[in-house]
């Protein structure tokens, strides 16, 4: 790099630092915040996903392959010998796997101790050769298989994480509830291989079947393939031998299922971080452009002294590089600190609720750090390249006299690049999801943002034109200045426009989402009181229990529900099958016109179900329920914000006919007139079987709504924080660029004073100019933000989470935002002006031409 001159660089940077340390600092900070957010989100996600993956691997015991039941009801155990005898299968370990709980599952606001766990029943002799991690080692140091102290029917082995959470040690008693049954077990030892991530308890398979109502049923068959076996052929043979209620699942599918669970949420956060980085890029551009404009004479001097034009560009890019390195380094450090804080305080899922029982561990991956740091550098360079090229183009002689290229006010600024970008943005917004992610939607947002900023000069002129001709001298001066040099205005504003647009987009999206969730909660909670059994996927209330509950005095009506996960696709998380008594109380978006065809049960599917599996209103589809594929008629589509992976509501009578399962996991209760809700609730609690007391959670619609919205707000806490940071950076950007511009215009103020303007009038002019700029920026930002919000609400959210929402505009927030920006811009201009004018503006005119 022959044209690079370190002396010149040092001179330029040092001068810049003396002239405006705040501006440089803001530019560095903008980069740093973008890098920090991106890096932190990535770190936290990776940590959470790793820990979630480890937990899954612990529970599934790391078998080569597994046959799984489609539902918690599992499959007939006689499948086990059939699969075990297939060629290529070297080992088959039958497993009973149940959702279970211990203690009192926490209700909102209660301090009761308890938790969910996976209860696994294995034959240790079989598991030893397939999933040795699931074989407990008794604390005496011997295998738990028939060794001393001999067979103990009630022996249970706990994962270390579960033993710690429950505060039990080998030798203690431990009570577990699963499938509506409760059993007191004896902790015989720990599962050393289970790691710190799984809440896992292992008992003997015969005991699991007998104690928890699973006689004749298995939920899983863990398989080991023979060495050198043709894996594909073995998989085909196994798949061919499976009944309808079982499916073959390779570890990759399990991993992808775990990944899919939170993928959209993670990508969304990552994208937000990138948008923040983009905002940082605009701030860098704004800062660099201003500083280039201010230093025209310096550059000219350098050019006259012999620095080639190309060298000037290199100088400026080196400057940007330094800013970028500083920002990236700061950002990485900040990101790591932020991630640590988030993991410690919110848990690994950033409040998203995906990985409830896991404990995330943070790492510092150098490659990823390099990636995000590089992104920061790139942003800094990209933000500097345009101003650098502009600086290199100018004529040194003119610039030396302070007469840099001033745009001709008569020539209107070009609008087509901005319009082209906006058009591309609209096109991208109409695109389909890529790999199940709304990548084009995000591209659309970036294009809209870039287009909006590029359109700023033309837009500013258009907005100001009708105001020209105002009689008050200071305002007229201010408006004419803005109209005459819209480029300068857009420079000052690009940062604030970008951050305002981002904030408006997020605020509108969150407001729309929240409003839709609130409406939805009202619609799905029409009863007076709700009962939910947590961790009861394998079964909860038996008919006798249901009759006892229904007989509780003070109840006008009670409707039971059975909710059960069903696996349709091994690589996707299970969907929820909800069998309901009575008419479904859900907000239905569309209904089938005709009646169900003969032999098909009518069901209502959630938007996610329709999106993921293509179930359309009026379709007849098959779903394995009760061991056989059943014909279901899609009678309607309903909106569901609770189950991202799909839900199917079917009449309870059909479910019972299909499965013979008469149990229930939920109930909606309507109170008789004048009945006291609290009294009825305690009477219901007393009527519940003792086994499920720890799992029972009662809720009243108002409380449930409050809790749901609290959870909603908590999961968007990160988003709120992101918004606040973006807006603060934007405001700081406005403040620094204003003071820079004011300082650059000292001579102009001196001239105005000379021609007779009072000091107050100059200040008023500046304030009006600032406020006008602020207004233009705010309005543009809001308009742009609304467009981006539309993309978020109509494209990004449906494509990520497979649900729709109604647009809701938070007008007070938007109004306050505009007012704050106008005030802030005007005020900053005023303060900068006072400082500048105090330093003898009149003297400035005397400066040598």
């Amino acid at each position: 790099m022959a044209s690079f001159n370190p002396v010149a660089t040092r001179w330029l940077l040092a001068g810049e630092w003396r002239a405006g340390p705040a501006r440089l600092a803001i530019a560095v900070l903008a980069i740093a915040v973008g890098v920090a957010l991106g890096f932190a989100v990535h770190l936290v996600n990776t940590a959470a996903l790793d820990s979630f993956g480890r937990a899954i691997a612990s529970v599934s015991g790391r078998a080569d392959l597994a046959v799984r039941g489609r539902t918690p009801a599992g499959f007939d155990e006689l499948l086990y010998p059939r699969i075990a005898r297939l060629p290529g299968v070297a080992g088959a370990s039958p497993v009973v796997e149940l959702a279970a709980s211990w203690g009192q599952l926490a209700r909102p606001g209660s301090k009761a101790r308890g938790g969910r766990l996976a209860l696994i029943g294995v034959d240790p002799l079989r598991a030893m050769g397939v999933t040795p991690g699931l074989v407990g080692i008794a604390s005496a140091g011997q295998s738990g298989v028939g060794s001393r102290p001999g067979w103990r029917a009630d022996a249970v082995f706990l994962s270390p994480a579960l033993a710690r959470a429950a505060g039990v040690a080998p030798g203690d008693g431990f009570t577990i509830t699963a499938a509506g049954q409760q059993s007191r077990l004896h902790v015989a030892g720990l599962l050393r291989g289970a790691g710190d991530d799984a809440q896992l308890a292992v008992i003997d398979i015969a005991e699991a079947q007998a104690r928890f109502g699973q006689l004749g049923r298995l939920q899983r068959l863990d398989l080991r393939l023979a060495e050198g076996a043709d894996v594909a052929a073995a998989q085909r043979a196994i798949a061919a031998a499976l009944p309808a209620d079982a499916l073959l699942s390779a570890p990759e599918a399990e991993a992808s299922r775990a990944d899919a669970l939170s993928r959209a949420y993670r990508v969304n956060l990552g994208m937000l971080a990138l948008v923040a980085l983009l905002t940082g890029g605009f701030l860098v551009w704004s800062a660099q452009a201003l500083s280039v404009a201010r230093r025209r004479p310096q550059f000219a001097l350098l050019a006259v002294l012999g620095l080639p034009r190309q060298g000037l560009v290199v100088q400026l890019l080196v400057e940007a590089l330094l800013l970028g390195v500083l920002g990236a380094a700061l950002g990485l450090a900040l990101g790591h600190v932020l991630a640590t804080l988030v993991v410690d305080h919110f848990g690994g899922d950033l409040g998203g609720g995906y990985f409830s029982a896991t404990h995330a561990r943070l790492a510092f991956p150098p490659l990823v750090a390099l990636f995000f740091g590089g992104l920061g550098l790139l942003t800094a360079l990209a933000g500097s390249i345009v101003p650098a090229l502009a600086a290199a183009r100018q004529a040194p002689a003119l610039a030396l006299k302070g007469l840099g290229e001033v745009p001709d006010p008569a020539r209107p600024p070009r609008a087509w690049p901005g319009l082209a970008l906006l058009g591309a943005g609209v096109l991208a917004a109409l695109g389909p999801p890529i790999a199940g992610l709304p990548l084009l939607g995000y591209a659309a947002m970036a294009l809209l943002l870039a287009g909006g900023v590029a359109l700023m000069p033309a837009l500013a002129r258009g907005l100001i034109r009708p105001l020209l001709g105002v009689r008050a001298v200071p305002v007229d001066l201010a408006l004419r200045r803005l109209w005459g040099s819209p480029q300068a205005a857009s420079l000052a504003l690009s940062g604030i426009v970008a951050s305002t647009a981002l904030m408006v987009a997020m605020a509108v999206m969150v407001a729309s989402f929240r409003q839709s969730v609130d409406d939805w909660l009202v619609a799905v909670l029409p009863a007076d009181l709700y009962l939910h059994l947590e961790a009861a996927e394998a079964g909860g209330l038996q008919p006798a229990d249901q009759a006892r509950l229904a007989a509780v005095p003070g109840i006008a009506a009670i409707r039971f529900q059975r909710v059960q996960p069903v696996r349709l696709d091994p690589a996707r998380p299970a969907l929820a099958l909800m069998a309901q008594e009575g008419a479904a109380a859900v907000p239905v978006l569309s209904r089938a016109a005709g009646a169900p065809p003969a032999g098909a049960a009518p069901v209502i599917v959630s938007e996610a179900m329709a999106w993921l599996y293509g179930w359309k209103v009026g379709d007849v589809r098959e779903l394995v329920i009760g061991g056989q594929p059943r014909r279901l008629f899609v009678a309607g589509v309903w909106r569901d914000y609770a189950r991202q992976w799909g839900a199917v509501i079917m009449p309870m009578a059909d479910y019972r006919r299909f499965t013979g399962d008469a149990s229930a996991t939920e109930a909606a209760i309507e109170l008789a007139a004048g009945a006291d809700a609290a009294a009825v609730q305690s009477a219901l609690m007393a009527a519940l079987p003792a086994a499920v007391h720890g799992q029972a959670q009662f809720g009243r619609p108002s409380d449930m709504r409050r809790v749901a919205l609290q959870i909603f707000d908590r999961s968007f806490a990160v988003t709120y924080a992101l918004e606040a940071i973006a807006i603060l950076i934007g405001l700081a950007g406005v403040a620094t660029s204003f003071s820079a511009q004011v300082l650059a215009r000292l001579k102009e103020f001196g001239m105005l004073r000379h021609v007779g303007l009072a000091r107050g009038q100059v200040l008023a002019m500046l304030a009006a100019e600032g406020a006008g700029l602020g207004l233009v920026g705010a309005l543009t930002g809001v308009a742009l933000g609304l467009a981006m919000a539309l993309v978020l609400v109509k494209v990004v959210n449906p494509q990520s989470f497979h649900w729709t929402m109604d647009l809701a505009l938070p007008w007070p927030l938007l109004g306050a935002l505009v007012a704050a920006l106008v005030l802030c811009a005007g005020g900053t201009a005023l303060i900068a002006g006072r400082r500048a004018l105090g330093r003898g503006a009149v003297l400035a005119v005397r400066a040598d031409w």
């Binding site: 010998p81 075990a84 005898r85 060794s147 102290p149 029917a153 060495e227």
Partner: protein
């Protein structure tokens, strides 16, 4: 023979009332007694033999065990689950190939059930996944056993009748009368079949034993020897050792070519441990060349025993089994199998 110790490691020593007792005077009946005796705590089918191959003699042993775990009455009877471990089947097999200089061996274990692990009552048919030992309709015995490194598919044709050990099949194992087993042997089985796919021939020996109460608490191990003699005779010798290297009990039998059976009393047997070989893996020292003396028709016979290779140690401790030495041996005028246990760490029970 006394492989029951393997299973004693898997089950408590306390005598539980719900196991069938071993009593003298119970006549053995065939083919029923070829089959399983599920009421007894433990039982085994133990086939050993030597195969003649172009590369010289090779030893093999195939053992199936059945054990009734000491579940306690509540579990065994009350739990209707098919997975309830009412019986556990365990098997191991080993090939002694002097060319390989150490054993190739493999093991299987499973709860009885689902047709995957079964021990039939009424005739010999024991299955454990892909391993099986059974008596065919033609009266021949068959074994099919394969794992990484070896595959055995053998048929055994009886050339003589079974030997009822002890008093008509009631075989004492210790100073107390209940320390005993039901025990018969089937020597001089003519072997034909395939080893690793290649046809082989040879001679084999079947040991069948079932018991609920076997060993004296003072026992630390045992030595056992079963020999097919070239003249058509069969010699069985065993002793149960105490902690001081002496014999707590000893026994065995000699049947000559004409079927005359002599049952030995403890004082008819002297077993001199000799020819010590130290295992480079376990560091245990084994008397792999013992010299045995037995008194037949009032005359003491001396028989030096030579293994076909010194390293026939089998370490099944990783799978919960014992460390033992079990190998093919030669004597002047005969060949068979020798088993040694309790020489590494004393067998803890």
């Amino acid at each position: 023979m006394l492989r029951g110790l393997v299973l004693l490691l898997l089950a408590p020593l306390l005598v539980a009332a719900h196991f069938a007792p071993v009593r003298p005077g119970v006549a053995l009946r065939f083919p029923a007694d070829h089959g399983a005796h599920p009421d007894f705590r433990t039982e085994w089918w133990y086939v050993t033999g030597q195969l003649d191959t172009p590369d010289g003699p090779k030893g093999f042993q195939i053992t199936f065990f059945r054990t009734k775990p000491d579940l306690g009455p509540d579990i065994a009877t009350n739990n209707p689950s098919r997975f309830t471990p009412r019986q556990v089947i365990f098997a191991h097999a080993a090939i002694a190939d002097p060319g390989h200089r150490r054993l190739r061996h493999a093991a299987r274990i499973a709860r009885q059930g689902f047709g995957l692990a079964e021990a039939r009552v009424g005739d010999m048919d024991v299955t454990l996944d892909d391993w099986r030992l059974w008596r065919g309709a033609d009266g021949r015995l068959h074994a099919r056993v394969a794992d990484k490194g070896f595959a055995l598919d053998l048929a055994f044709t009886p050339t003589q009748g079974v030997i009822l050990q002890g008093e008509g099949g009631y075989s004492r194992k210790g100073p107390h009368p209940q320390e005993a087993s039901h025990y018969y042997s089937w020597p001089h089985l003519a072997v034909a079949g395939r080893l690793n796919g290649k046809p082989v021939k040879g001679t084999a020996w079947l040991d069948r034993e079932w018991s609920s109460t076997l060993l004296n608490p003072g026992a630390v191990g045992w030595d056992w020897l079963g020999l097919n003699l070239d003249d058509g005779g069969a010699l069985t010798l065993f002793r149960v050792r105490d902690g001081k290297g002496g014999a707590l009990w000893a026994g065995g039998s000699h049947r000559d070519r004409d079927g005359r059976l002599t049952v030995f009393k403890p004082e008819d047997i002297r077993w001199l441990a000799d020819g010590w070989w130290q295992s480079p893996r376990s560091k245990a020292r084994w008397p792999v060349r013992p010299v045995v003396h037995y008194r037949l028709n009032g005359r003491w016979q001396r028989l030096p025993v030579t293994p076909i290779m010194p390293d026939q140690e089998l370490d099944s401790r990783a799978g919960g089994g014992p460390l033992y030495w079990e190998g093919a041996v030669k004597v002047p005028g005969g060949r068979g199998y020798l088993e040694l246990t309790g020489y590494g760490a004393p067998l803890r029970m």
